[in-house]
Amino acid sequence: MQRDTELLQQIRLGEMGAFDVLYERYAVRLLSYIHRFVGDRAAAEDLVQEVFLAVLKDQSFDCTKEGFARWVFTVARNRALNYQRDKKRNATKLKEFQTLARPIESSPATPRQGLSKGITQALSKLSPKHQDTLVLKQFGEFSYREIAEIQGVAEGTVKSRFHFAVRQLRQSLTTRGDNA
């Protein structure tokens, strides 16, 4: 399997086969991650395009070093945060704020719809920081140290945030199960 950095070099030389491989590796993970931030599929897809292009164009990344995934997710996180900030700044109506705060709609009905809905609700109860940590761990498949680098915090902070997020999530699910 070719390394991400090798694919990156090939894409920069116009090799589109390498782009397809890299896209396959990152599209779902990036889109899912960004979607948690922006809550709008179309906007998330636009941001994925921007992130891919920014990463491919930016020559500052040293291709001889590892950590491509970490770099991509850092760029994605910054873009998503900027998007959120701009959207909030441009919002003139309270309604728009309410839309932002609303939990993300789940996908079409499946046999596991109950659990799915429960997880969505439980996730939306978490603070953005805890959601971010949880999703980075799940989709980014990063270690605590890597998430710490992305978020610019200490490794211990990431670990405690993640543990807290998981505990909260499980508690919400358990409470929901008891109430049902």
């Binding site: 599209a27 599929r41 395009q49 761990k137």
Partner: protein, 153 residues
């Protein structure tokens, strides 16, 4: 390891964030303790649920659009093609060099073998063997070529 400590480490165990020794202890405890194993299974299901529930599949349109933009941005230019030469692995260059050297050698060897036939000294030797006087070719002009009869000589 006791159940309390195992429960505390369960999340880090799932994500392989433990040091090797603790990881081994955890694995051993989970093999022997039914309650902790069940708890671990629950945790695993919940994590899978989070992934399934938050995963968003990109549309085909996204791939097409992005591919077009990348292709437009990084279309191969003469600069890129030149740069590509330097990304070819070293064994390729070695093979190419070997090929060039052997072809050059073969060319020189064959030209050396052909060379003796074109030496003018051979002609002189031919004349000497037939005892015929050598024809003087000074001020030679092909338009006014004189045909010399051997009997006249």
């Amino acid at each position: 390891m006791n159940c309390q400590r195992c429960n505390k480490n369960l999340i880090d165990y799932h994500y392989q964030e433990l040091d090797p020794a603790t990881y081994e202890d955890m694995a051993e405890h989970l093999t022997g303790c039914g309650d902790c194993a069940l708890e671990y299974c629950r945790l695993d299901v919940e994590f899978r649920g989070v992934i399934d529930n938050t995963r968003v599949r990109p549309s085909d349109d996204l791939h097409r659009k992005l591919r077009n933009r990348v292709a437009a941005e990084f279309a191969p230019s003469w600069k890129n093609k030149l740069a590509q030469l330097f990304t070819i692995p070293i064994p390729v260059y070695q093979t190419a060099l070997l090929l060039v050297v052997s072809l050059t050698l073969a060319f020189f060897l064959s030209s050396e073998r052909r060379a003796p036939h074109s030496v003018s000294g051979d002609l002189t030797a031919q004349h000497a063997s037939t005892h015929a006087p050598a024809v003087i070719l000074e001020n030679y002009d092909a338009n006014r070529l004189i045909i010399v009869d051997n009997d006249q000589l």
